[in-house]
């Protein structure tokens, strides 16, 4: 075993988790916690297929000198099953925070989402980190995401000896990610809402991983909005990618998706439809100054990548986990 500091990474079973693990293992001893399988990891990365709520997870913190917890394990967006996601996400997060307090882990990085602000019509153009969280105002599906963010904030204030960083990224885009935004951009044609063209902001998966790496700096603490791109109108981004757009009236698409979601016929979460209708632009000044994040992926570069990807078939493969 090397002398590299140990980082516990939740959500390693997801695509984003794997990317974070691959980057961090160059500097850290990465121990992944996730019940989901992930066969394609280098041997140097330990993957424990256990639920963070179980005792074996606590054993990990007790036995090893854990330098940091990187928690991606919460739900990344809307969740269908409230009970299950509250259990796994919220209780799991609470357990992990308890371990960090009990076994003196000096660093915690929690990946939340800018969805906690929720796209709402009529809000101010630039959303700062101090804006009230209203993401669950319109949709109960967003409750656990907001709950976990609030837990992160409480933990940040209650445990001043732990340098906690809470990250709230805009849409995370990547060629293989299966979150709502990435899947949408891979569609062969784009349903858009008639009469709306909101400003869209995103962060490429590479920049997000860089942000997590930067957040691991020992003394750094705080809550940071993350975006890699300037805001741009959704339809101009889509036009640049160059696949056809199909405008549909909002009430129609909303009703249809609520029914499909309720019946389990789509994995595209209804709250994501709001992103096609109302924009929200993050104020990222704090991330630029505090985190010193210098995004490498601007819109033209991201557009280029998605243009080159083969268009996916619409429908069943639309997923919500990153």
């Amino acid at each position: 075993m090397s002398a590299r500091p140990t980082v516990v990474l939740t959500g390693i079973g997801g695509k984003l988790g794997r990317l974070v693990a691959l980057r961090l293992h160059l500097q850290y001893q990465v121990v992944g916690l996730d019940p989901r399988p992930r066969p394609d990891l280098p041997a140097a990365i330990t993957h424990l297929r256990i639920d963070p709520r179980r005792r074996r997870a606590e054993n990990l913190f007790r036995r090893r000198q854990v330098q940091a917890l990187v928690h991606l394990g919460g739900p990344r967006g809307a969740t269908r099953d409230q009970e299950e996601s509250l259990g796994a996400g919220v209780t799991g997060t609470q357990r992990l925070f308890d371990f960090c307090t009990a076994y003196q882990v000096p660093k915690v990085v929690l990946l939340s989402s800018a969805d906690v602000y929720g796209p709402l019509p009529g809000t101010s153009q630039f959303i700062s980190e101090d804006t009230a969280l209203q993401g669950d105002l319109r949709y109960p599906e967003m409750r656990s995401l907001v709950a976990i963010d609030r837990m992160g904030q409480s933990f940040y204030w209650a445990q001043p000896q732990i340098a906690t960083v809470l990250l709230r990224p805009a849409h995370i885009l990547g060629p293989t990610l299966r979150n709502g935004a990435s899947t949408y951009l891979r569609l062969p044609y784009y349903p858009v809402i008639l009469g709306f063209d909101p400003l869209l902001q995103a962060i490429h998966q590479e920049d997000l991983v860089t942000a997590i790496e930067l957040a691991l700096a020992p003394e750094l603490r705080g809550i940071f909005n993350l975006a890699g791109t300037e805001p741009a109108p959704l339809r101009r981004v889509l036009a640049q990618i160059g696949r056809p757009q199909v405008p549909v009236p909002a009430p129609l698409v909303r009703r249809a998706f609520h029914q499909l979601w309720r019946l389990g016929l789509t994995n595209f979460p209804p709250p994501e439809i709001d992103h096609l209708q109302y924009g929200s632009v993050l104020d990222t000044a704090r991330a630029a100054a505090g985190l010193r994040l210098r995004p490498a992926w601007s819109w033209p570069k991201i557009v280029e990548q998605f243009r080159e990807l083969g268009a996916e078939r619409a429908g069943g493969r639309v997923g919500s986990r990153g």
Binding site: P121, G122, T123, G195, F196, P231, Y278, G279
Partner: protein, 283 residues
């Protein structure tokens, strides 16, 4: 989506001056041609011909003191009248056509706009955003020129009997100016009162129809569809000297009101000057 005019009309209104002014506006690059507020100067190409025609031919606007508007951030504070905000459009057109260099006046819209199809993005594209204090602050931080009507609908929907009488001012603009040390330029609009003279505001009927007001004018609602088109009263725009305010933006209302009184006096003086100067409502 194009909101272009019919080709014939567009040719009729085509004007090399407009193209020249448009070409001198700064172009945002990062967001595929829009700034972080969603403003795209190229959209003004659709609006400018009509606005210029109204400015030159319909309202025959005379402008005085435009050079007093300082470079950089500034709040234009104007009296508001005439049932529909043609006064705002004419102030914007004056700054676009006659200021050196041409400037875009940003103004703020109601909160229902982002939830309303089409205007949700068309208004931002021509420089209008939702009126929240944060948005105003962000625009001023970007050194923009912001137009406010502190009377709001109280001024816009007032009746003929109260013409050229300033209604109660909101206080937000003054707190904003103090906080951001932004100069205020008072702008008196003459002619807007006569464009749509209203004898009576049938508020209850307006509420029933979901409208902010329901003016009864010589032609509205008598001539459906066209009754609210403005009469060609001659417009004058009088720009006052920039005023600077210091202090605590969170001061009590009475303290803020004293400063607002200075703006009202200045605006009233400009209005009186403009009215004394004109030879007739339509001349």
């Amino acid at each position: 989506m194009s909101l272009g005019l019919p080709a014939g009309l567009a040719r009729l209104l085509a004007d090399p001056l407009i193209e020249e002014r448009l070409s001198r506006l700064p172009r945002p690059e990062a967001g595929f041609g829009v700034d972080p507020f969603g403003f795209d100067p190229t959209y003004l190409r659709h609006l400018a011909p009509l606005a210029t025609w109204l400015y030159r031919r319909w309202f025959r606007v005379q402008t005085r003191g435009l050079a007093k508007v300082p470079a950089g951030r500034c709040l234009l504070v104007a009296n508001h009248a005439g049932q529909l905000p043609w006064d705002g459009l004419m102030i914007g057109t004056a700054l676009f056509l006659e200021a050196e260099p041409p400037r875009v006046v940003r103004s703020m819209v109601e909160r229902f706009v982002p939830a309303t199809p089409f205007v949700s993005y068309l208004l931002p594209r021509i420089g209008q955003i939702v009126g929240t204090p944060e948005n105003a602050r962000a625009l001023l931080a970007q050194e923009e020129l912001l137009l406010v009507f502190p009377e709001g609908v109280r001024g816009l929907n007032k009746t003929w009997r109260e013409r050229y009488r300033l209604q109660e001012f909101g206080r937000g603009f003054m707190r904003l100016a103090i906080e951001t040390s932004t100069p205020i330029v008072p702008v008196a609009v003459i002619g807007s009162e006569e464009q749509t003279p209203s004898f009576y505001n049938a508020r209850a009927l307006g509420r029933l129809l979901g409208l902010p007001a329901f003016p009864i004018t010589p032609t509205h609602p008598l001539l459906p569809g066209i009754g609210l088109l403005p009469y060609p009263s001659r417009y004058q725009l009088l720009f006052g000297d920039p005023m600077h305010f210091k202090g605590d933006p969170h001061d009590e209302d009475e303290v803020i009101d004293k400063r607002i009184a200075l703006i009202r006096v200045s605006l009233q003086t400009l209005i009186a000057e403009g009215r004394a100067r004109r030879r007739g409502v339509f001349r």
